[in-house]
Amino acid sequence: MSFLGLGGGAPKLSSEQKVQAAEAELDMVTDMFNRLVDTCYTKCIEKSKGYSEGDVNKNEGLCIDRCVAKYFDTNVKVGEHMQKIGSSQFPGRR
């Protein structure tokens, strides 16, 4: 990131790693988002009546609200748990 090679910026390797990590993270977030949209769409819109109307009605709106909230909560909970398991199983790593 240094300007004209001056300033002795961070080593190149680590910045590549950083980009990789960021990409992995972005992949993960995108994946989760896609799944979330997919799940809540099938659950709340497709299963009720599909596209019978252009607008969202109360039931669908409520369903989507709850679905998204629960999905996020569960995701966070599962993530935390997995991290705990991971750190307890391979304590030497990292």
Partner: protein
């Protein structure tokens, strides 16, 4: 009569006795040849010799079991039918369109367990018959449940008191601000407009001061920009160039609509007669009662605290005897505890039973966890004191009136607090005890009527048509349930001065502002 019949009976037997031997022979031979049941060659060819009814005992067993199981299944099916009927009616309301940034009407549900039983019993009714109807009607729920008598009362009253404190604080702040902004000139000359004087004042400001003010302005703008950057929606996305993007993106509740009449906003559902009683008691206590704990309550609370400490001490002593090392437990007297209770008066209102549900994240920091061994705090105002000592809260003088309809109490989200919302009471039929078993059996096979009743009530919430609270009959909502309450439990509650066994009293100042969901609708019109 008996003699003659005996004669008649005895005569044929005597007459037939000589021939009985022959008849027996004939009977046994025919029994061997044509036995009971149905048979034909085709069945025989398939290996089934005879089709016949089971024996008498089997028949009794099967018919009794069949009846019991069949009755239960029939009832179950009818329950479902009744529930579906109300769900279908409610669905029409759920189909109403709603914009994507609006959340539907939210109803507060209070649940508490029936006497001497677990919360699950009331919960079951809610899950089976109430929630499906509300759900298909597109209504959001907030459920508050308690396990001890009095905690709902305490919560409702504490909520009102907290709001009163907040209003008080806001108003005093506002007054202080007004005081501060008033200039000296306007003090001297009444009616002098402050603004021109201010602009003149500005003119005489020194250069330095002007520079400082410019700097301040710059930092303010920088902060505003930073704040805007925090929300990525402001700098990219489909709303970027939309002029009313703030309005479009901001999510708000349907209840916050100012055009909606006050009595059609939100709603309160009390499940069970006891819950309703607690709710009404809490409402009166909060609106008419004092803001600070009266001496009587302080005493009771200190005594309760002392009881807990005493128990702990006894436990500690028994452990000491066993040879475990312990610090000498310090015993506070009731007087000392009373001082302590007085010292954190407001604290208790915030640390109500439900605080842990409200903000599970910061429960430890400020108010601490709720101690389940503790009794809910006693009422600040009892029903027999409403008239004499009760005074409609000063803080609500701009919002709640004695003689005319009340006005929406402003809150952050513009949704009025739940004690301004209409009420629905759901009965919880629940029997306990050995002698009530026949009645329990009868009720078990007639649950469909409960399903119908609760469905109708839930639908009335969805339908959202209200009528004013009528103190004469509405105090007795679901009163029939009290007949089910066990006598021993009732006596115990009376002895311990509990809330469920109190006589309800309605005070006009509170009740004149309440609304109840109307269930008098013509079902054919729907």
């Amino acid at each position: 009569m008996t003699d003659s019949s005996k004669l008649v009976e005895s005569q044929p037997t005597q007459a037939s006795s000589p021939a009985s031997g022959a008849a027996k022979d004939a009977k046994s031979s025919t029994a061997k040849v044509e036995s009971k049941g149905y048979s034909n060659p085709a069945l025989k060819a398939m290996g089934i010799n005879r089709i016949k009814l089971p024996s008498r005992n089997w028949m009794i067993f099967l018919s009794v079991t069949g009846l019991l199981v069949g009755g239960a299944l029939y009832d179950k099916r009818e329950q479902k039918k009744n529930r579906d009927k109300w769900m279908k009616l409610a669905e029409e309301y759920g189909k109403a369109q709603i914009s994507t940034n609006t959340t539907p009407r939210k109803v507060t549900v209070f649940v508490s367990p029936p006497p001497n039983d677990y919360l699950e019993e009331s919960w079951k009714l809610f899950r089976r018959y109430i929630k499906p109807v509300l759900n298909s009607g597109g209504i959001d729920l907030e459920v508050l449940h308690s396990n001890t008598q009095g905690s709902i009362r305490n919560r409702v009253a504490a909520d009102i008191r907290n709001l009163r404190r907040e209003i008080e604080k806001n108003e005093s702040e506002k007054a202080a601000k007004n005081e501060g902004s008033r200039s000296r000139l306007s003090d001297i000359i009444p009616g002098f407009i402050t603004r021109p004087w201010n602009s003149v004042h500005q003119y005489f400001l020194s250069e330095e001061k002007k520079k400082k003010m410019a700097e301040e302005e710059e930092t303010r703008q920088a902060q505003a920009f930073k704040k805007q950057m925090e929300n990525h929606k402001h700098i990219l996305g489909i709303y970027l160039n939309d002029s009313n993007k703030d309005q479009m993106m901001e999510s708000h509740s349907e209840d916050s609509d100012n055009n909606k009449p006050l009595n059609n906003i939100g709603g309160v559902i009390c499940i069970g007669r006891g819950t309703y009683k607690e709710y009404m008691l809490g409402l009166h206590e909060g609106l008419l009662g004092p803001l600070e704990k009266p001496e009587r309550v302080v005493e009771a609370q200190a005594a309760d605290e002392h009881r807990i400490l005493d128990q702990k001490r006894k436990r500690d002593i028994s452990r000491l005897k066993k040879g475990e090392e312990l610090n000498e437990p310090d015993i506070k007297t009731v007087e000392e505890l009373m001082e302590e209770v007085k010292a954190n008066r407001q604290y208790d209102d915030k640390k109500s039973f439900f605080a842990q549900y409200d903000n599970p994240d910061d429960q430890d920091e400020e108010y601490g966890e709720y101690d389940f061994t503790r009794e809910p705090i006693k009422a600040y105002l009892l029903p027999n004191e409403y008239r004499k000592e009760g005074k409609l809260a000063e803080e609500f003088k701009n919002y709640i009136f004695e003689d005319k309809p009340s006005v929406k109490i402003p809150t952050d989200d513009n949704v009025p607090p739940y004690y301004q919302q209409p009420i629905c009471v759901m009965p919880v039929p629940h029997l306990l005890g050995f002698l009530t078993i026949p009645m329990k059996i009868y009720r078990f096979y007639n649950k469909r009527y409960v399903a119908d009743e609760l469905g109708e009530l839930s639908f009335s919430v969805v339908r959202n048509v209200v009528r004013p609270f009528d103190a004469e009959k509405d105090l007795d909502l679901a009163v029939k349930e009290e007949e089910d309450w066990p006598k021993k439990w009732y006596q115990k509650s009376v002895d311990n001065d509990k809330d469920w066994v109190r006589d309800l009293a309605a005070d006009k100042r509170v009740v004149s502002n309440l609304w109840v969901y109307d269930i008098n609708f013509n079902k054919d019109d729907l």
